[in-house]
Each structure stands twice: as C-alpha cells, then as structure tokens.
Subunit: 270 residues, 2 copies
C-alpha cells in the first residue's frame, strides 16, 4: 500500500464541513469519491482537522492509502480535474506508511477575519464576519494575548456532550500564539491563533468573547477568570463559521516521510 | 421627483448580467425589485454599463427617480438589507434631475485578472481566468499598449447584429490606457483598460487576442493590422467573463450634482 499526503484548500461555504455525512455535501465525501474514481478502489481520505460547516481551509492536510501506481503529482492533477472548483489539492506527495494526517499533527494555525467597514464586499460574502459597529480593537488585542499558553479551555468548548476534535475529554490545550492584528488596507481585524490542538468551536468562541471585550461587555482581565471558571456560560457566543480559515498544519521533521528517506538515501545517509 | 445615484459592487457569477430579462436573475432586476419595495413605486434603476453574464463590478454606477422622501444614506441601508449579499450598494447620493448614469459617463475602467499559478484558489473560482501554461508576458504587455488611442474596434466587437453597449453603430472607440500588469504576490497578470466607452465583448476579445500573442500565435506588431482590417475573424477568442471587473466610471465635475449645488450654496458660491 502506498500512502499519499494531500494539502487541500477549500471554500467551505457550500459544504457541511469536512466530515463525511451520508447524503450531505462534505469535503471528505468529495475527496473520497474523486480518489475512489481515480483508483477504482474504495478510498477513505483522512483529514487532520474536522472543520465544521462553512469553515474554510487554505492548508488542510489529509492522507489516503492506495494500491494505485499513480504518482503523487498525477494524483493532484486527476483529483483537481474531478473535484468541484471549491476544493483544490494544492500539493500532493508520497509519504511513508506511518504518516497519519491527524495523529501526527504537531500544531495548527487558524485565522478569523472580521471586516470593519460599512459595506461588506460581495466578494467577501461568507468569507469574513461583518462587524461594522464600534469596537475597542486595542483592548481586544490585549485580551487575545490572555489565551496564550496552556489552559483548561472548558469555558470555550462546544456544549457538553459534543465530541472534541481529538476525541478526548481532556480540555487542556496549549496555544503558542493568540493575537489580533489590524489589516488597514482591507479594513479588517484578523485573529490569528497557533496551537498544538483545539477543542471544537474553540476558535469561534474565543472570537465571540473577544467581540464582547471589544463592545465593553467584558474586560480583558476577565479572560483568565473565565478560563479558570471552566464554565461555558461565561464565554461569548460562538461566531459564525464565515470568517474562519484553517491556515496550516505542522508535522514532525519530513525526514520521516518516504520522500525524506529517498533523499537521505540519495545523500548517502541512513 | 428626486434623483438618486448609486455606486454598486457585485459578484456577477450567479447573475445573467446587468440588464433586466424576464424570469432571469439579473443585477438590474434585483435593484428594481428592492427599490420598488422600499418606495412602493415602480422603480427602474438605470445602469451606466450593461455588464454581461458573469462579469463583476466594483464600481458600477446607476440612478433612479423617486417621489420618496428617504435620504440617499437611508436608501443605501434599505437596499443593502433587501438585496442579495452578492450585490452591494457601496455609495448613494442625491443628484440633480439631469444626472443620467449612462449618458453622462465620461470614461470607464475595466480590469481582467489572469491567474498564472498551477492551482486556482477555491476563493478565485469564477473571479479570475486560469491560464497556467507558458505565456510570453512581456510581449503581451507590449501588445496591450497597441490598443491605446482612437481606433475602429470592429475586429474586437461582438458578432454582427449584436447590440453595442451605447446602442450606436459607430465602431470608433478611444482608449486612454491599455496595459498589462504583473502582480507577483498573487501570481497573476491583470489587464487594465481605461477608455471613453467600449463595444460589447471588446475587453474580453482584446484579452483573448493578448493571450494569442502570449502563446506566440500572433505578434504584437499584428495588433495594428488587425485593428486596421476591421475583421472579427482576425482577433482572438472572447475569454470567459470570470476575470472581468468593471472598476469605476467617471462623470463630469460633481458641482453639477445636487450635493454640489448645496455645497456651493453653503460656501456662498453660485
């Protein structure tokens, strides 16, 4: 069996999220169908992140196993020929048998776009949240920093009973960076978060809470208190998926991949 | 009767163009419906440019007459509340009774986006033409300049019998600027044309011809010959609407507008 790793971008607005659901258009279903048609095998494409309905991706990572002799590059072309234009394979490579997009992911980066102007461009519909009213952006930026580090994110998790992204019940998560950036040219603020892993709805609940801070309903100093309380009722609302982008996913040193081993062999290394 | 001038942006991909056509979704129909609902009058919104199906706009200009006492600013809000998100009124102002979006337009600017990378972003689907193969971009840029000035554009017009944008049979058109620009960050080339007025399909036929030049099928020195020949069969194909944007439309000095007169009065001028 060969193992093919894909990097995938998608406009999530027309899909019911990543995860296969019978009878519904999902990113995974479209990829399963296309890969199965190409290989004439029953292919399951495993994604690193089960993005929710309406969430976009610039760099989702997935892998699938196949007996096909097709080169990764040819897989990329054939998949893009069959997939809807809203889903694009931006890179494909053959990797070692142990590569697993989900279990080996080391860190993920998400962005959330909030457009601040009076009229949302038709070209940003479903691609940014529109918040034209007054917000104290500098207080929001200070509050964003309060999420950095290791915390129990129970207060920013999906309501009880919902499955977490990594299937576990441990609500402790580590964020390497959590910041709000002003993009003046496009008149938007962008929340950028880089973390080891995330709970379901966590980014959207953080953004909803930052908006409460921006409106003056919460102070930035209350973020640590809300985290400490482990109480979902204290955080802000879950913002819509429109502005959320899975930007990239990091993996261990690529020398573990087949390409890496081949390169090491060529270089005379073990 | 009051006269309201609108500046409108739209993602044209879901519409059958600007012009009202019974039973089909068009930009004008959506605006007519929204303005009529707001005023409870039968409103016809007159646009400056009858953009074709799939063509986008950043700054289409239109006007309509109404007995309504609603301020222009309130019209903007009410229209945006009723219009589909793919159509946005980005500005509205009250103008003098003689303002006519179409007859008074002095010049228009169009852009045509050609994406050059291997994989078109899902976010640019229907918003740029994808041309990943080899093109001699510098020869194309030279050829683009050949269209500047006053020419008979018969060779770059819609097939005989099709109505021209300004209703006339005169094929002479004046282009102030016609250039091809490299945008390295987004890996695209953009054709930008600024002219007094345009024939139907003219921009898309010019771009189609520039692509023939880029592929080496035509030399830039042949552009003057093709213009001179007044023969549609000599120009390149009409490219799809996906990459075309009506950027802006220019009008005579705004002191002719009602806002201008009011400003002059406030300033103690006639």
């Amino acid at each position: 069996m060969r193992n093919i790793r894909l990097t995938i971008a998608y406009d999530g607005s027309a899909f019911h999220g990543w995860q296969f659901q019978p009878g519904l258009p999902t990113i995974q279903a479209a990829l399963n169908d296309a890969a199965s048609e190409i290989t004439q095998e029953t292919i399951i494409v495993n994604g690193a992140s089960r993005t929710d309905a309406g969430v976009h991706a610039l760099g989702q990572v997935a892998h699938f196993k196949t007996h096909s002799a097709l080169e990764a590059r040819e897989f990329q072309r054939a998949l893009n020929a069959l997939l809807p234009p809203a889903i694009r394979v931006v890179a494909a490579e053959e990797v070692g048998p142990d590569f697993h997009a989900r279990w080996l992911s080391q860190a993920k980066t998400y962005r959330y776009r909030i457009f601040r102007g009076a009229v949302l461009s038709p070209f940003d519909y479903r691609r940014a949240l529109h918040v034209p009213w007054a917000l104290d952006e500098s207080v929001m930026a200070a509050a964003a920093r309060e999420f950095e580090g290791a915390h129990d994110f129970t207060s920013f998790a999906a309501s009880s009973g919902a499955e977490e992204e990594d299937g576990s019940r441990d609500m402790q998560r580590l964020l390497y960076a959590s910041e709000l950036i002003r993009e003046s040219v496009s008149d938007e603020i962008v929340y950028i978060v880089h973390g080891k892993s995330f709970l379901r709805y966590m980014v959207r609940k953080i953004v909803g809470t930052l908006l409460e801070v921006g409106k003056g309903k919460l102070g930035p100093q209350q973020i640590p208190e809300i985290l400490e309380a482990r109480d979902r009722s204290l955080s802000g609302p879950t913002v819509p998926p429109d502005g959320l982008y899975l930007v990239s996913i990091e993996y261990p040193d690529p020398t573990d991949s087949l390409a890496g081993s081949a390169a090491r062999k060529r270089a005379g290394l073990r």
